[in-house]
């Protein structure tokens, strides 16, 4: 038991350690935690007002879908090992006398804790719902217990399949995991189009958990049959876990690069990018960087593109946009957008996705390219050109990717609205400039994503994007009521404002970049 606790404490300190690095990191961490919990609480309060409330089957469907998707996403992590291990653990714990099962158990508890910090809104959701409906504390507690049992089941399955994939890394293991994931995700199609199978009809553990929770909400009593079936799943998963956790996984483990989705420690990201580079880099050498052609700025822009392509920085963006594009295509029936309200919502979507591009690319730059800055800094005054060209590279990607998505998901939209084209330019410019300013002005710790620096790099480009978008959004709402002369005047003022603001931002980058730290 002592060893399990020792490993657990080490893991917790390693993961949450960066929060202690500064007061602002701690404060921001608490703010994010509280805001997640508050959102869950408010959602619980508001649920009885939604149309789903009147349809218990629909409610079971939604809850079961949520829990199934959660399990399916966890299985993606099991393809990457299922058990988390930092590099230091490989060096020191794996070479000590600790047994695999002891290590796996401490990791199970660690993942349970991390999950409740990063993905915590369910318990406040139940509290909110209990307060709204006047449910007794005991019933609310049983609901929480059912949910926690499901979470525990998810972790058991994820770890067991992860270990299986490590000790038996055959295609059939991966096919098995892929089949389970597909089975878990497929019924979610019923939310978009007609699909014969719905979650409430299927004997999934998520459905048993969802039915038990909804029954508790409606009748304030426990439906034993669903709890019994959920218990059978847990028992089976436990036996599987007990058997598989004896295997010596230490021979096969590599440092974990991702503890959870959207978890992006710089070191972990650098390892991930390095692996991508090792695998895909040699295939991209047909894209060559020729120093004998073009100006330095053009050369550096191309160099930034080559990095983004070779080290896999674009990969998460492509995945994100592909998923969103597919869902949009399925749900929107290719209808052209014309109304103002639809253009407004398109603008919101464009803003959010345009902001994501510089934000994700800036994070990958920070984890894998910042350390190479010594080459520029020791060779004379090229740092301004370097960041200007990086700005242009970000701007181009931030323009192309969201527009590609818009054109796929909302056909003809791009051609029908000049405002959207102008706003796209403003949004991409502002978010890219903010991303670069964040990289220059804020020091990023190497150790963890739980830090103020990482909070800023995610949110400042989004704020920049909305700064770029807000005048256009305001204009879309105000201008249609005015005569055409006013519209032109307004448009001229707006473009002037944006040009000046952007010019100021670029000048600030130029000024501050000379004091950048590596």
């Amino acid at each position: 038991m002592g060893k399990i606790i020792t490993v657990l404490v080490f893991k917790i300190k390693q993961y949450f350690g960066p929060l202690r690095s500064s007061r602002i990191s701690l404060l921001l961490g608490i703010l994010v935690f509280l805001s997640l919990n508050f959102t869950g609480f408010m959602f619980g309060i508001g649920l009885p007002d939604t149309p789903f409330w009147a349809e218990p089957d629909r409610l079971i469907d939604i809850l079961s879908a949520f829990l199934s998707i959660f399990l399916a996403l966890s299985l993606v992590l099991s393809l990457r090992g299922g058990v988390t291990a930092f590099q230091a653990e490989l060096d020191f714990f794996f070479t000590s006398a600790i047994k695999p099962r002891q290590y796996v158990l401490s990791d199970l508890i660690f993942q349970f804790i991390v999950l409740h910090v990063l993905f915590s809104p369910f318990i406040p959701f139940i509290i909110g719902l209990a307060l709204r409906l006047g449910i007794t504390a005991l019933v609310a507690l049983i609901m929480v217990l059912i949910y926690e049992t499901y979470v525990f089941l998810t972790l058991l399955i994820m770890q067991s399949l992860g270990i299986l994939n490590l000790v038996a890394p055959y295609k059939r293991t991966k096919v098995l995991i892929g089949m389970i994931m597909s089975a878990l995700l497929l019924p979610s199609l019923s939310f978009i189009r007609f699909f014969p199978l719905e979650y409430s009809d299927l004997p999934y553990p998520s459905t048993f958990a969802a039915k038990a929770i909804v029954h508790l909400l409606e009748q304030s009593s426990v439906e034993l049959l669903n709890v019994y079936f959920l218990g059978i799943f847990v028992a089976l998963a436990f036996i599987f876990h007990f058997v598989i956790s004896r295997k010596n996984l230490f021979h096969y483990m590599r440092p974990t690069i991702m503890l959870s989705f959207f978890e992006s420690r710089p070191q972990a990201q650098a390892i991930q990018q390095r692996r991508m580079l090792e695998r895909f880099g040699p295939m991209t050498t047909f894209l060559t960087l020729d120093p004998t052609k073009g100006s330095l700025t053009r050369f550096l822009i191309k160099k930034h593109f080559i990095r983004i392509i070779r080290d896999g920085s674009l990969f998460p963006l492509i995945m994100l946009f592909a998923i969103y594009g597919a869902v949009s295509m399925l749900s929107l029936n290719f209808s052209p957008v014309s109304s103002l309200k639809e253009i407004e919502s398109a603008l919101f979507m464009l803003t959010f996705y345009s902001a994501l591009v510089p934000s994700i690319l800036a994070m990958s730059w920070n984890s894998y390219e910042r350390e190479n800055l010594w080459l520029i800094l020791t060779s004379g005054g090229r740092i301004v050109e370097y960041f200007k060209s990086f700005f242009v590279a970000l701007l181009i990607v931030a323009l192309i990717m969201p527009w590609g998505l818009l054109i796929i998901s909302l056909p003809f939209l791009g051609l029908s609205s000049l405002w959207l084209i102008l706003s796209a330019l403003a949004i991409a410019s502002f978010s890219s400039a903010f991303a670069i300013l964040t990289l220059i002005l804020i020091e990023m710790p190497k150790e963890g994503s739980m830090s103020a620096g990482y909070f800023f790099i995610i949110f400042l480009p989004i704020i920049g994007a909305y700064m770029g978008a807000s005048p256009f959004l305001a204009m879309l709402m105000i201008v249609p009521d005015y005569p055409i002369q006013f519209q032109f005047l307004f448009a001229t003022l707006l473009i002037g404002y944006l040009a000046l603001a952007l010019f100021g931002l670029l000048k600030l980058i130029e000024k501050k970049v000379k004091s950048i730290k590596i």
Binding site: T292, L296, T378, G381
Partner: protein
């Protein structure tokens, strides 16, 4: 003073602290044209900090650093054309091929476009990397990366080459090869500043050696001069001299930085 003796690098009364810890305490250093100067000191002596200040990666708290007579506090960028730098653990853009990487460095070093290919090929051949020039750096061994980083430091033919522990990770044949390249370099009246804690490297490679400990000078000069300072016999090795001098320096009562600063202020006024 002949042109040959004119220092390519002068460091005078250099001070640098990090988070309250005084890493460099009034260090003086001089590297002449056409010599290999070794900066020798134990771990934490302030060698890397000093080099980082010279190449412009760190800002000094106080002192004067001149490269070929140019004060780097006044002319912060232009002087870098004169220097080539190899850090202790060079990180390279692993997503580029060896050829692209050297081309990239050549481009930011303002080498004329029509020269870039020739120079790139020359250094790839010199360091036996030509066969791998189309491979991306991520597939290279540590020694190969070190050779590539050294090529990058040399590609613009710097007057002063600054090397921080350059031979770590390189096999004996490679080490011998690098030493001969550096010896060739000084024949062209160019200079090398090597920071190392490998005493045999300093003994065999360097014309003069500066020993530093706890951020300050202990002694500097040729091996003969150091023997005299340490009052040791003719057959004494650099290792013995180093151990004696650093031990003696440890015994000297610590001088407080503030006092030293005050003295230097007086000296300036005079």
């Amino acid at each position: 003073m002949s042109a040959f003796d004119f220092p390519i690098l002068e460091v005078l009364n250099l001070w640098k602290s990090y988070n309250g810890h005084q890493a460099v305490k009034g260090l003086d250093l001089e590297v002449k044209k056409g010599e290999i100067f070794g900066l020798l000191g134990p771990n934490g002596a302030g060698k890397t900090t000093t080099l980082k200040i010279i190449v412009g990666l760190l800002k000094m708290d106080k002192g004067i650093v001149k490269v070929d007579g140019v004060d780097i506090s006044e002319e912060q960028y232009g002087y870098k054309k004169q220097i080539g730098y190899l850090p202790e653990n060079p990180t390279l853009p692993e997503y580029l091929t060896a050829e692209e990487f050297l081309g990239y460095v050549a481009k930011i070093r303002d080498i004329p476009s029509n020269d870039i290919k020739d120079r790139t090929n020359y250094y790839l051949e010199l360091f036996d990397l030509k066969k791998r020039k189309k491979d991306i750096i991520v597939s290279f061994s540590r020694g190969m990366k070190q050779k590539l980083a050294l090529s990058a430091a040399l590609i613009h033919k710097p007057s002063l080459l600054i090397l921080d522990e350059p031979l770590i990770g390189i096999d004996p044949t490679g080490q011998h090869h690098i030493k001969s390249i550096l010896k060739e370099m000084i024949k062209e009246n160019r200079s090398v500043l090597v920071s190392t804690h490998m005493i045999d490297t300093a003994e065999r490679l360097c014309d003069r050696v500066g020993i530093i400990n706890n951020g300050r000078n202990v002694a500097s000069g040729s091996l003969e001069k150091l023997r005299r300072i340490a009052e040791m016999g003719e057959d004494s090795t650099l290792e013995q001299i180093f151990l004696k001098l650093t031990q003696e320096a440890e015994e000297v009562v610590e001088e407080k930085p503030m006092r030293r600063r005050l003295f230097s202020l007086f000296r300036k006024k005079e």
